[in-house]
């Protein structure tokens, strides 16, 4: 089980409404990612689902039962926090056992589950240590272990990888994805990192100022962003958004072209510019182009390594069927 549905849910802090009426369906077994810039309300939304914040109005139901005013403990959800939020005075074993102890589960069953979780998360050797004696990655694994043993209806992750260094983050990302494949439990994952969103999600919910800008699979969002905000937010490097006369040629207020959908030439092309900085990643080259007369700086992504240095003149041509058009309200023109 693990269907969660939000019906006209709002949240206000005092006079400030951070989440205007919002509807959302999360299906059983889905990996849903809430993504958006900081302050967009994604964490608040997760905390509303968790029950850590009271909903101001509207209804939240979990597996068809109204959970709007249910205490967090009663919702059958498990949460993994950014700060890990382990109990510092308890050993790893006791940390993992805590939710089972609260549920009054028999101790032999507890131990079997702890051992299984510890084995799955490579924590067997650390069961008797305190959280303070563990590395960041290990602590996050303990937090995940503590969530797993509850066998929750859904897992809630609140930016769980933000405190880890880059290399560890990629590893933990894979571990969480594998966990999802194995358990097939609903997971809701909050992040500001669109790469995490793209790689992990079945369904991405893009939020801005408490409003859902678009819900869809990563590729839907990539290929058919509903508006300028989603277009700019999803994809790395960011989509080039061009306004003015050049956009008018295409009957649009704004046209968008992703860096990977531009071809370059030294001799001819649609747009002319000067190379500012070229970032050579080996597999790809990102070229930042100035003085195109279209926008401050355009970014081009070329597969492989090409020779381009500061001050070179360069010609860019968009791949025609990969251009996105937006109207005066910033909405996509089909």
């Amino acid at each position: 089980m693990g269907n969660i549905s939000l019906n006209q849910v709002t949240k206000s802090f005092g006079d400030v409404q951070v989440i205007p009426p919002l509807d959302l369906e999360i299906n059983e077994g889905e990996f849903v990612v809430f993504v958006g810039p900081s302050g967009c309300g994604k964490s608040t939304l997760l905390r509303l689902i968790a029950g850590l914040e009271d909903t101001t109005s509207g209804a939240i139901s979990i597996d068809g039962n109204d959970a709007t005013s249910l205490a967090p403990a009663k919702r059958g959800l498990a949460m993994v926090f950014q700060s890990y939020a382990l109990y510092p005075h308890m050993s790893v074993r006791k940390n993992i056992a805590f939710p089972m102890k609260m549920a009054g589960i028999d101790e032999t069953v507890q131990n079997a589950k702890i051992d299984a979780a510890a084995k799955a998360l490579n924590l067997t050797d650390y069961l008797d240590r305190k959280p303070g004696q563990l590395s960041g990655g290990q602590r996050q694994r303990v937090a995940i272990g503590r969530a797993i043993v509850r066998e929750p209806a859904a897992f809630l992750f609140d930016e769980p990888l933000s405190n880890l260094d880059a290399a560890l983050r990629v590893g933990m990302r894979l571990e969480i994805m594998e966990l999802h494949e194995k358990l097939q439990t609903t997971m809701i994952y909050v992040t500001h990192d669109q790469v995490e969103a793209m790689t992990m999600a079945d369904k991405i919910v893009v939020l801005q100022a408490g409003v859902i800008e678009q819900v869809g699979s990563p590729l839907e969002l990539y290929h058919a962003p509903r508006n300028k905000f989603v277009a700019g937010f999803i994809g790395s490097p960011k989509m080039n958004l061009i306004e003015g006369p050049e956009a008018a040629k295409y009957d649009a207020t704004t046209i968008g072209i992703r860096p990977e959908h531009l071809t370059v030439s030294n001799t001819e092309g649609m747009w002319k510019g000067i190379v500012g900085v070229a970032e050579h990643l080996g597999s790809d080259t990102f070229i930042h182009v100035h003085e195109t007369g279209l926008m401050d700086m355009m970014t081009v992504r070329i597969t492989g390594d090409i020779a381009a240095k500061h001050g070179d003149t360069i010609y860019l041509t968009p791949v025609a069927d990969q251009m996105h058009r937006f109207d005066a309200d910033g909405l996509r023109i089909a």
């Binding site: 939020a85 109990y87 549920a103 509850r150």
Partner: protein
């Protein structure tokens, strides 16, 4: 980058630290030495340091002339009693201020602290009248209540800063893990708050133990603690330095020993939780 520390610098600073430490400790050391001298040696000029006939007669005299065990028991009762009464009131207060602060919480805290700036002598007269009217002059309960009131702002402040250090997410995690309010307090909050409560208790026992203004003024015989016991040796017919020293040593010894064994917690308490 760490600052370079040359051996010379290190020796210099070590010597300086020792000199400063000894300077601070000197009055206690001198009292200790004087307590083993005869009255004549005690006032000798130039002062005699170590080479005199060490004697225990001052201690015997002090014991004979006054009731040390009674004063000791009074001190313990007053210090421990006022501290625990204070903790009983301050824990819920600090709790509320740390976890469910209102708009005026900061103002309340500052106001509480400001009462510490009131000169104690300003409330002496009304307090004495009140105590007399209630018929509790020279009683332990009066001192327990008065010292509790005097130290309450400090107790609340200390506990507040400790409670503030407990991350809210851990409490939320407990709630997510299925803990009700009772389980949350019992298994998560209390164990995390205990070290803070312990150092607060320790520091306040010492503060109450050393408090001299109220303990001397509000007691005569029955409830007189060690502070009054020391004061009783500065008699009108002249000071008996050696006996006074012996009495002082007897009075400070228990708290000195307690302080020595709990140095670590005390330092943490004195910094109000500023360093970990």
């Amino acid at each position: 980058m760490s600052r370079a520390i040359t051996p010379q610098k290190k020796i210099m600073w070590t010597a300086f630290a020792w000199a400063f430490g000894l300077l601070m400790f000197f009055p206690i050391l001198w009292t200790f030495l004087t307590s083993f001298k005869t009255e004549a040696v005690a006032i000798a000029d130039p002062p005699v340091w170590l080479f005199f006939d060490w004697t225990l007669e001052n201690y015997a005299d002090v014991q004979a002339r006054s009731n040390y065990p009674k004063a000791l028991m009074n001190s313990i009762a007053i210090a421990v009693g006022s501290t625990f009464l204070g903790i009983l009131i301050a824990v819920p207060a600090a709790w509320a201020m740390a976890f469910v602060p209102g708009n005026r919480t900061k103002d309340v805290l500052l106001w509480m602290l400001s009462t510490k700036m009131l000169p104690a002598v300003g409330v002496l007269y009304p307090l004495v009248l009140l105590a007399k009217w209630l018929g509790v002059m020279d009683s332990r309960i009066l001192l327990i209540v008065v010292l509790m009131l005097i130290n309450l702002p400090i107790i609340v402040w200390m506990l507040y800063t400790y409670f503030r250090e407990i991350p809210g997410e851990i409490l939320e995690a407990a709630r997510m893990d299925g803990a009700g309010l009772k389980a949350e307090i019992l298994y998560v909050l209390t164990p995390m708050a205990l070290p803070g409560i312990a150092s607060t208790v320790l520091l306040n026992i010492i503060l109450a133990w050393n408090e001299a203004f109220w303990t001397i003024l509000l007691t005569t015989v029955d409830a007189a603690p060690l502070t009054a016991f020391i004061a009783s040796f500065s008699a009108p017919e002249g000071l008996f330095y050696a006996k006074l020293s012996a009495a002082s040593m007897l009075a400070v010894a228990p708290i000195l020993i307690m302080g020595w064994f709990s140095q670590k917690q005390l330092v943490r308490g004195l910094t109000f939780g500023a360093v970990k």
